[in-house]
Each structure stands twice: as structure tokens, then as C-alpha cells.
């Protein structure tokens, strides 16, 4: 492979945001028909490098060589016209358009008459999705579907656009294992059969080992190493990423003494779930695990008054909610909820401190919130979860994905709730940050709060839960204690 010149090469790339150096002298290349993975901690500069590659940023130092020629892209459109397509994690979907329209955005097939060929469009979209295991109605607006579908839609759009260089920035962060499996097959297929060149960013190293020919590790905006996938191991990658061995020990769980039920769900039925019964004790972490369409994310929303339920009761520490309660009521009664979509819950253009204080603005500032008080409340929690860079004034949108997630969780720490409902708490986080976030949850548990971790990632659920509840097609199908010898495969088989 290395005897042919690379199709694409970046040399000595340096990118600064004011005083912050996001990338320094980074080199990167890509050969035809190769999958080159890019890994690194949150904030290492992966997305920034890819934004340069796909024309989003055009102010940087260094050389960009495509097909042996020095170029400077003008825009993402320019990149696309040269065959470079990028899958941004949640960026480019149009929620109001149908799934099929999203997949064919900007290049709908036409009939002989020159009108949009809806039939072909819907058929192809349906087929492609089915190949990946999604049997869904592609005529419905995309916003009606969970994040996983939106992600797949984005992936399909870029793949079908015919780009010869595909950049995938964390394409699987909202998918569950079976779908990841099919996506990996698709990626491998694109590479070997269609000779596409792929850049693959992920925090899931197992995944990386399976798709990549080569792996480049970035740390603090610098090249650390580029290794052949066959000659490396997951452990080696982890130490390259972190620059040290991982200390993957979560704080030990302290035994809770008196049992007190904090959250009790009785016979809850709604659009996406049926007859759900679930108890959560003080000082307990329950993992709610399920795949796409299991209804577990909607159940979490229902607990927070954001998803309608038709019958059944939700009780928090002895108080039963009426059927029509709002998020506000839920917060007042001691519930906190972190959505799986950062985009829905965070205010990207607003300063970190404003994102953090919003749920508790009344407590912090009373009628007149003051800047000083708000920052004084926000800074300690940002430090506690280690948001990097820890600048309360910066808009949350300038943080890397993983750090945004920390902010989304951190905002509840100022006034800790009784019951914490967290959907996909570690989505898009690197190995180290994952640990930090999970530690936060374990600490909550040790302080006597109840934590419900809602996730489609078996690793996350297995890492922290005392008890695991498995949902499938809106129903609870099994419930088991997490004694430590439970394996990922065993859990996945339960569905």
C-alpha cells in the first residue's frame, strides 16, 4: 500500500483558535481503499482536523495535498465536489424533512418529466436502511425517529453521494451493538469492494480494531503515533491515547444500609412502552438496557414529563405525579434528566455558566441573577467533572463533544436531585472521560441518590449498575443483578 502515493495528505497542520492551539504540526495521510482510523481523547483535535479536511475551516497553517496537488478548499461544498464527504455527528440533518429526503438531500432522483421521483427515492432509502437492519417508514419526518436513525441517515446520505473519501466522525455513538455490527460490515464492504477511502473516528477501540488498516493517535493536538491495526492491541492504543496506563477503577460502591424506594414506576403504558414496573432505591444504580426501538429512552422522557403516558403511576419518594406533569414539576420533586441528545439540551451559543445555572437559576440568583454568583456556582462543578478548557465564559459550542457531555451532566450537580435519570451518559466520550463520568454517577449513588442509567451500550450499563433491567419492544423482558461475572454477550442475548 505504501508504495503508491497517498490520495490525500496533510502536512504540518497547525490550527489555532485565538490563544488555544487545537492542532500543532499534525501529519495525516490516506491511501486509496484504506480505512484510516483517528483516535484520541476528547479535545485531542480529531474533529478539528477533519473539519480542515472537509473544507469547514480554511484558515490554518500547513499543506493540504489531494491527488498529488497542493490545494486549499474553499468550503464543504468545494470538498464534496472533489469527492470528500464528511459525516458530522448530528449536524446536517433536516428534522422536518422525511427520512428519504434527508438521505437524498440536494440530489433527489428525477422522473422523465423532471419532477422528483418519490417512488424511487423512497424505495432506495427503504432498501438501504433495511440492509442496515432498520425497517422504518422513510416517508415520516426524521425528527420522529431516535438519534440512532438520524445518525444512520446522515451516514447513508454521505455514502450514497458517491464521495470517494468518506470522513466518519463518531458514526456509531448513538447506535446499539447489532446496528454497529452492520455498519462495520458496510464500511468494510465500501473499502474492499468499492475502493473507497475512509477516515474513521471513534472512541470504541474494538470497533476501530475491526475496521481500520491503520490507526493514528492524536493527543493534545499532536501526532503521537500511526500504527498498523494488525500490529497493535487495544491496550497499546489506550496507553498511546492517554500517554499512560489506564487506571480504570471506579470509586468503590459503598453499601447502602436502609432501603428506601426513591422512584417507583407502576404499570406504566404509553406510546412506546407497555406495563412497565420498575423500582429504584436510594443508593442504587439501575441500568436500563435496550436496543433501538426498545422504548427505554422514551420511558426516561416520560419520567421527566416529556413523553405522554396513558396509564400507570410514577412515584418519587412517596409523591405520585398526576398524568399531566411537566419537566418543571419533575425537577421540583427531585428528578434530574440528561437527554441523549446534547443538541436538544444544551444552548450551543451560550456561555458554559449559563448552561449550567439555568435549571437552578432561582436558587442561585433569585430574581436578579448576577454574573458573579452564577460563575461562582458554575466553576466548581466544571472543575469537578474536569471540563477542558475550564472557561465558564466560553460558549458551550466551542467545547469538544465529550466536554459538552460533561457540561450537560455537571449542570445538575449544583443542586443534586434525589433521582438522576441519564440517557447515554458516555456517548461520544473517550476512555478516560467515560470513566470520569461514570465515577460521577457512582459518587451520586454513594451519596444516597438513585441513578437510572438508560443506555444501548452494554459496557456502560455493565460498568456501573447494581441491577440491570432489559427492555425490548416496549416491555421489560428481564431483570438481573450485576454481580460482576455478567458478560456483554450474555446481556445482548437477553433481548
Amino acid at each position: 500500500m505504501s508504495d503508491t502515493p497517498p490520495i490525500l495528505e496533510l502536512r504540518q497542520i497547525t490550527k489555532r483558535f485565538g490563544g488555544l492551539t487545537a492542532l500543532e504540526d499534525v501529519n495525516f495521510d490516506l491511501h486509496v481503499g484504506e480505512t484510516h482510523a483517528l483516535v484520541g481523547e476528547n479535545g485531542a483535535g480529531k474533529s478539528t482536523l477533519m473539519r480542515i479536511l472537509s473544507g469547514v475551516y480554511n484558515e490554518y497553517d500547513g499543506d493540504y495535498i489531494l491527488d498529488g496537488q497542493h490545494i486549499r478548499l474553499a468550503s464543504p461544498r468545494d470538498a464534496l465536489s472533489r469527492g470528500i464527504g464528511m459525516i458530522h455527528q448530528e449536524l446536517n440533518v433536516m428534522p422536518e424533512l422525511s427520512v428519504a429526503e434527508n438521505i437524498f438531500l440536494g440530489r433527489q432522483p428525477l422522473t422523465a418529466m423532471g419532477s422528483v421521483d418519490w417512488r424511487t427515492m423512497n424505495r432506495v432509502a427503504e432498501e438501504e436502511l433495511r440492509k442496515l437492519g432498520f425497517n422504518i417508514n422513510v416517508r415520516l419526518p426524521l425528527e420522529q425517529y431516535p438519534l440512532g436513525i438520524q445518525q444512520v441517515t446522515e451516514v447513508l446520505r454521505v455514502i450514497l453521494s458517491g464521495a470517494r473519501i468518506l470522513i466518519m466522525d463518531e458514526p456509531t455513538s448513538a447506535l446499539s451493538p447489532a446496528e454497529v455490527e452492520r455498519l462495520i460490515q458496510l464500511v468494510n464492504d465500501l473499502r474492499s469492494r468499492h475502493k473507497r477511502s475512509i477516515i474513521y473516528i471513534s472512541h470504541f477501540l474494538d470497533e476501530v480494531m475491526r475496521v481500520a488498516d491503520r490507526v493514528t493517535v492524536l493527543r493534545d493536538g499532536r501526532n503521537v503515533a500511526t500504527v498498523n491495526a494488525t500490529e497493535t492491541s487495544k491496550t497499546q492504543l489506550i496507553s498511546l491515547i492517554l500517554g499512560r496506563e489506564m487506571d480504570a477503577v471506579l470509586p468503590s460502591a459503598s453499601e447502602s444500609t436502609a432501603k428506601r424506594t426513591l422512584l417507583s414506576i407502576k404499570d406504566l403504558s404509553g406510546g412506546a412502552f407497555e406495563n412497565v414496573n420498575l423500582d429504584l432505591d436510594a443508593g442504587e444504580i439501575v441500568g436500563l438496557y435496550g436496543l433501538f426501538g426498545a422504548g427505554h429512552f422514551d420511558l426516561a422522557r416520560a419520567l421527566f414529563g416529556m413523553f405522554r403516558f396513558d396509564s400507570g403511576t410514577i412515584t418519587i419518594d412517596g409523591y405520585s405525579f398526576p398524568t399531566n406533569f411537566t419537566a418543571r414539576d419533575a425537577i421540583k420533586k427531585g428528578l434530574a434528566y440528561v437527554s441523549e441528545s446534547r443538541r436538544k439540551s444544551l444552548f450551543m451559543d451560550e456561555a458554559n455558566y449559563r448552561n449550567i445555572t439555568l435549571p437552578h437559576l432561582g436558587h442561585i440568583g433569585g430574581f436578579w441573577p448576577s454574573y458573579a454568583k452564577e460563575v461562582a456556582a458554575a466553576r466548581p462543578v466544571m472543575e469537578m467533572v474536569n471540563v477542558q478548557p475550564c472557561k465558564p465564559d466560553n460558549p458551550v459550542g466551542t467545547l469538544s463533544g465529550g466536554n459538552q457531555q460533561k457540561v450537560a451532566i455537571a449542570r445538575w450537580i449544583t443542586y443534586p436531585p434525589k433521582v438522576f435519570v441519564v440517557s447515554e451518559p458516555t456517548r461520544g466520550m473517550d476512555v478516560g472521560a467515560k470513566n470520569e463520568v461514570l465515577s460521577i454517577l457512582v459518587n451520586f449513588r454513594n451519596q444516597g441518590y438513585g441513578v437510572l442509567v438508560v443506555s444501548s451500550e452494554p459496557e456502560t450499563v455493565l460498568a456501573v449498575s447494581d441491577r440491570i433491567v432489559v427492555m425490548s419492544r416496549g416491555k421489560i423482558v428481564s431483570e438481573l443483578a450485576n454481580t460482576g461475572d455478567l458478560q456483554k454477550e450474555a446481556l445482548m442475548r437477553l433481548i
Binding site: 474533529s47 473516528i201 421540583k332 436538544k344 451559543d349 451560550e350 456561555a351 439555568l358 437559576l361 436578579w368
Partner: protein, 337 residues
């Protein structure tokens, strides 16, 4: 507020050139205003005279009261198309109670402003309870209000107005050369709105709800209340503007002056408040009002200009501002991966 704040907090984070670009866009309305003033002061001798400048203030006072309310509404990402009808209805209610029913002030004025606030509240409820987009609910409300005005007045104009309205609309503080009351009322409206939006918790909720409604809801903000409150505030401002306007004209007419709505939205947007919600504020609105006032008045002061071209030119400027507004609203920091 958020725009300028965001800019300052970005200062050390972004390249100098980007900072320049950013401040260029936030300051664009200010440059526009200065350029217009320069242009008109060169093109017409009368423009810079104190009398004329005072004229501009008087001309934009009614708009300013309406604009204060509209700023609340636009910041939440909604729109209020009923304000022109509110202005008319308030005049008619006040005059009808005062003249036909013989009820002494302050009741007619209080009732009239109360009705306007209530109708704004109802638009808000229709929008939040029944999920009717605000441009539809307020459009319907505008018909309701103007319909009520026609019905109550039976199509007749009132030429007698109450002393309260006369004081608000044409009174002066401190002798015949003193400050116009309506300018003071407008300034107070803007000042109070400014303080509320910038310094109170409610103000923060307005911004956050406009920037990301689902995010606000997830953080426990009662967004329905915020939307409704914004429309009610706009209704209240419509009411106040109605009293002022009838005092200024010395009569209450049942015909709706449509330009109030277009001018208000135009001025607020010209200042740089986003139609998508979450960005902008009273400072922007003040600049927008001054631009609007300068443009209108300046065109009047140029003798050579075909008077029939004025509206055309104002429209073109408004269109330009809208394009800039929409162009930049997509250029924000987005979710990163």
C-alpha cells in the same frame, strides 16, 4: 445582549480576523445608522437641526413602545402580527367608554390597555395550548381586534378624546417647549424592557427559550408561560401605543394603520434581533428604531426625491436587513463531535 457578550467572550478564542468579522456583523446596524445620518446631513440642510432631530424622536416614539414589546416576542422566536389592530382597538375602546358611555378616566384607559393585554394573552394561550404557530394565532387575533374596533365604533371616527390620551400623546413636560410626554413614555418602556431582559431571571428565560425551546424545557423552564408572557407584554405595549397614538392624532379611528406592524418588526429586525429567537435585545431595537426614523425622516427632508419612491426605498433597506439577519443566523457555533 447575548450577541455582544458572545463576541467579547470569543475575543481570546478566535482569530483576530474572525473577531473582526463578528463585530462587523454585530455592529453593522450601528454603522448603517451612522452612514445614514452622515448621508442625510450632507444631502439636506434641515436634517441636523435640533427641531428635526426632535421630530425624529417624536416620529419613532409610538414605534418604540411597540418595538419594546415586539423585542420580547421575537427573542422567544415567535412573532406578533396583531399590534396594529391593537393600536386601533385601544383607541376605539377608550373613546367609546369616554364619549358614548360617559365613564371618567382613568377607567377607559385602564380598560383599553387591559383588553389589549388580555388579547395578547389569548394569542399566547392559543399558541401554547393548541400549538397554533404564533404568526397564525396573532393574525387571527388581529382580525378579532380590528373587527371589534369596527363593531364598537360602528365605523365612525371619534373626534373627542380623553384628557389622559391627550396628555400622553401631545402633552409636554415643563412648558410649551418641554419634553414630549410620548417620548418620555417610549423611553421608559425601552428602559424597563432593557432592565427586565438583561438583569432578571425572567429575561434570561426569554433568551434561553428562544435560543433552544426544548433545552429550556429540559432545564425546567415553563416555556409555555414564557411564550404567553411575551405575547401578553406585546399586547400591553400595543395598548399603551394605542393611547399615545390617539392622543397624538387627537382622534380615534376605526381603520387599522397597517404600517405600524411592518414598521415595528422592520425596526426591531433592522437592529439585529434575530427572527429565530435567542439573539438581540433592546439596545439593538433602539438602534433599529433610530435607523428607521432617520431613513423615513431623511427621505422627507430631501426635496428633490419623488415622494412616491420613499416607501420603495424603505422596503429595499428592510429587505437588505432581513437578508443580513437570516444570513448570519445560520453562522453560529454548532454542536461538535
Amino acid at each position: 445582549m447575548t450577541q455582544t457578550d458572545a463576541v467579547t467572550s470569543h475575543l481570546h478564542e478566535e482569530k483576530r480576523s474572525t473577531v473582526l468579522k463578528r463585530s462587523l456583523r454585530t455592529l453593522a446596524p450601528l454603522w448603517t445608522l451612522l452612514a445614514l445620518m452622515l448621508f442625510f446631513s450632507l444631502a439636506s440642510e434641515s436634517f441636523l437641526r435640533p427641531i428635526n432631530l426632535n421630530n425624529i424622536l417624536v416620529q419613532i416614539s409610538t414605534l418604540a413602545i411597540l418595538g419594546a414589546g415586539m423585542t420580547f416576542v421575537l427573542l422567544t422566536g415567535q412573532i406578533d402580527l396583531s399590534i396594529a389592530s391593537m393600536v386601533t382597538l385601544v383607541g376605539i375602546i377608550n373613546a367609546h367608554m369616554f364619549v358614548n358611555m360617559g365613564i371618567p378616566e382613568p377607567w377607559p384607559s385602564l380598560a383599553a390597555v387591559g383588553v389589549a393585554t388580555l388579547l395578547g394573552l389569548l394569542s399566547g394561550l392559543a399558541t401554547t395550548r393548541f400549538r397554533i404557530p404564533s404568526f397564525m394565532s396573532t393574525l387571527a387575533m388581529s382580525l378579532i381586534a380590528s373587527g371589534l374596533a369596527t363593531w364598537i365604533s360602528q365605523g365612525r371616527t371619534f373626534f373627542k378624546i380623553s384628557e389622559v390620551a391627550a396628555f400622553l400623546g401631545s402633552g409636554r413636560i415643563g412648558g410649551p417647549d418641554g419634553l414630549r410626554v410620548l417620548t418620555v413614555v417610549a423611553a421608559l418602556c425601552l428602559l424597563v424592557s432593557f432592565l427586565v431582559l438583561r438583569y432578571t431571571r425572567f429575561g434570561r428565560y426569554i433568551y434561553m427559550t428562544g435560543a433552544n425551546p426544548s433545552g429550556a424545557r429540559l432545564a425546567g423552564v415553563n416555556t409555555n408561560l414564557i411564550f404567553t408572557a411575551a405575547l401578553a407584554i406585546s399586547g400591553f405595549c400595543g395598548g399603551l401605543a394605542g393611547l399615545v397614538n390617539m392622543g397624538r392624532l387627537g382622534s380615534a379611528q376605526p381603520q387599522v394603520i397597517d404600517s405600524f406592524m411592518i414598521d415595528t418588526i422592520g425596526a426591531v429586525v433592522l437592529g439585529g434581533t434575530s427572527l429565530n429567537g435567542g439573539r438581540g435585545g433592546i439596545i439593538q431595537t433602539v438602534i433599529g428604531l433610530l435607523i428607521y426614523g432617520t431613513l423615513r425622516n431623511g427621505l422627507d427632508n430631501i426635496q428633490q426625491l419623488d415622494p412616491f419612491m420613499k416607501e420603495f426605498i424603505t422596503g429595499v433597506v428592510l429587505m437588505g436587513a432581513l437578508i443580513i439577519n437570516l444570513l448570519f443566523s445560520g453562522r453560529s457555533v454548532r454542536d461538535r463531535t
